[in-house]
Subunit: 215 residues, 4 copies
DNA sequence: AATGAATGAGCTTTCATTCAT
DNA sequence: AATGAATGAAAGCTCATTCAT
């Protein structure tokens, strides 16, 4: 469905065309992230994105089917990176409860490090009808699955209370992080740091889901 | 600014003018909730709302400044009701931790009972640039303050760990509920009941923020 | 065509109704003059006129067929007064060339004395398509006829060159006065007084049309 | 602000882009003149102009900011041409009083030759609030300055009475011509020719402002 | 591949006018 | 006669998208 060009094979020696294509692709995507963050998805005009990217309006349509797909592609690509990143960050740890802490920290670190991007993902993505009503955000589910796996493993190891539904817990955990991220972004002078927020969410959730110590 | 009619005196049984005016107001509001939920705020045309409400297009503008104010009014009015409702529900309970449970249950009950409305509040409200970037959702803050008060009281009574920031905890708690509500709404066949979700969130949070039992 | 109420007969002893009618009529007309002068005919809303007049919107339509007729009625009534006035001013003078001077002076005096009205007549009346393209401004022609009569009489008495077309001279004369009036109105700080302008126009025209002295 | 194309180099026979752009510009302008003259500025719809020009509605906005700028551009461009034309016509004559005659003749010749255009300039331009209340018609002042210069030169050469204010005389002269032009346009069967009118105005004014012969 | 001029559907909002009371 | 809530037609303008070059 996406008219995304095939990723250029690394050994493609004739690759000028493809290289250029790949560059244009991300050039436009980066411009879109900036413009969407600045003006909001609905207020942003394709012409704005084109200007920022330094290409003609029509060129955008050689790489993306339409405006909405631009937004969706941002989501897909960045979620993939987020998934990879959080998995790498968790790689050295096996304790599922500690992993939740890593997840929280990594997630909010990324929000902080890529504020513009986060702004788009947090705020603007929700503007797209398609995203919320038709689009199936599988990458988000994959991301959420990472939390769910921690919970399920915790249950298997007897660390997490068996009666909890990992699915519900996952969305709760994600919702807490997501809301804090959004508030942090929306507020000019946030009343908390994202580090503290990450620590707090992990702390509360881990204690909340853990099997209570037997007296 | 809204041409809200002067409240008709309760005994004014002939209050046609006022009655009519008040009726029109909520007649339009109800139509807007339905239409926004169905087509989304941006896709919904004023003409749709007018038709659903059974009035002429122009009539809408006698009661609301513009399309956006329609959305904002829905938010304001319904949040006020939510706040009143949850306070009434909590009235009989003094234990701040139990109150959090009541809050969670009441919140998700309302989502369930007024699905269309919840859909608008959850999903569509976030569509309004104004809402997210300019509008200050004081009613939301007030609602959140109810959670914050429970946490703070819990700390005063030695039930909740003193090191937690009530503000961060409040947004976490709300975020968890909000995310579950949104997923429940977006999914055609939800994988969980809102009752269970409310119980789970309350359970996890209360245990998570409570002062641990001294061994 | 005009739904103007019949002028109340002066001896109408039961006249409250008519009196009231007459009062309403000019009350609305005066309000319209003010509002049209302030905002311009097209920008002025019937609601503005109604508010200024202290009546309900619908009431205006009991006295005037529509917005345009309001403008036309202003023109008709005020032109009638202008015609009466200038004729009275000329009454004591028989020399047709002196009469032209009186005409010029009187015309620009009225512009000065009733600036708001003049603004409407000068500027806004020209906005009405009907006025310029369909309406036959017979009162204007009558007004112009007064100039024409002076010229013709001047010719009959051998004071004005016979080869001049009184019709063309009349419009020239009126055009000169009209243009000066408009410039005076449009300029915040006019570069001339209307008295001087009247004197100048009369001076130039009278010399210009007069039979040259025989050497 | 107008996206006037860079003047194509005269020898650029392949200048398709520029040519096209320039053509579109005047294509739209010409259509606007016709439509405005026919229906009047306020009644004319952008869609009408677009249709007449054979372009899409939106195309108009690639060349003109809005409907009003269309009118203003007509005024600016055509006044410039008028100024150039009358100066060329006067070039061979030095006597300032004869020049006034040339001015009058040229002005009314143009009205006759470009009746549609004249209709717009005469009648419709006055419809634009902006034109009359905000816009400063510098081109008109420049045009008027040509008359003023004649008068002033005449005074310097002792041909025109020194006591006359050239500014007032200029507006009078222009007003006379303007009014005659308007009446000629508005009347289906004009009662005079524009040649005769031009001659008459020049004749009356020149005699009127001239220094009287010393007996 | 790239351009960017052209398209034209789409929609909020205004306000003169009506008419039930 | 007076009201003023309701009407609904009307149109300027935007901008995502297309396509000839």
């Amino acid at each position: 469905m996406t008219p995304t060009p095939p990723a250029p094979s690394p050994d493609d020696s004739s690759g000028r065309g493809n290289r250029a294509r790949g560059e244009r692709h991300s050039q436009i995507l980066d411009a879109a992230i900036d413009v969407f963050a600045e003006k909001g998805f609905h207020k942003a005009r394709i012409a704005d994105v084109a200007e920022r990217a330094g290409v003609a309006d029509g060129t955008i349509y050689l790489y993306f089917k339409n405006k909405e797909e631009l937004l969706l592609t941002i989501f897909e690509e960045k979620m993939s990176q987020l998934i990879e990143g959080v998995q790498a960050a968790m790689a050295g740890t096996t304790d599922p409860l500690l992993r939740l802490g890593i997840f929280a920290r990594y997630h909010l670190e990324q929000v902080q490090a890529h504020r513009t991007l986060a702004e788009v993902l947090q705020v603007e993505l929700r503007l797209s009808n398609k995203f919320l009503k038709e689009y199936r955000p599988e990458k988000l589910w994959e991301y959420l699955g990472i939390i769910g796996t921690c919970v399920r493993e915790g249950q298997e190891r007897g660390l997490v209370r068996a009666e909890l539904d990992p699915y519900v817990v996952s969305w709760s955990f994600f919702g807490a992080l997501d809301e804090l991220a959004m508030q942090w972004i929306l507020q000019r002078r946030p009343r908390f740091t994202l580090e503290a927020a990450a620590a707090s969410v992990a702390d509360v959730f881990v204690r909340g889901i853990a099997v209570p110590p037997q007296p």
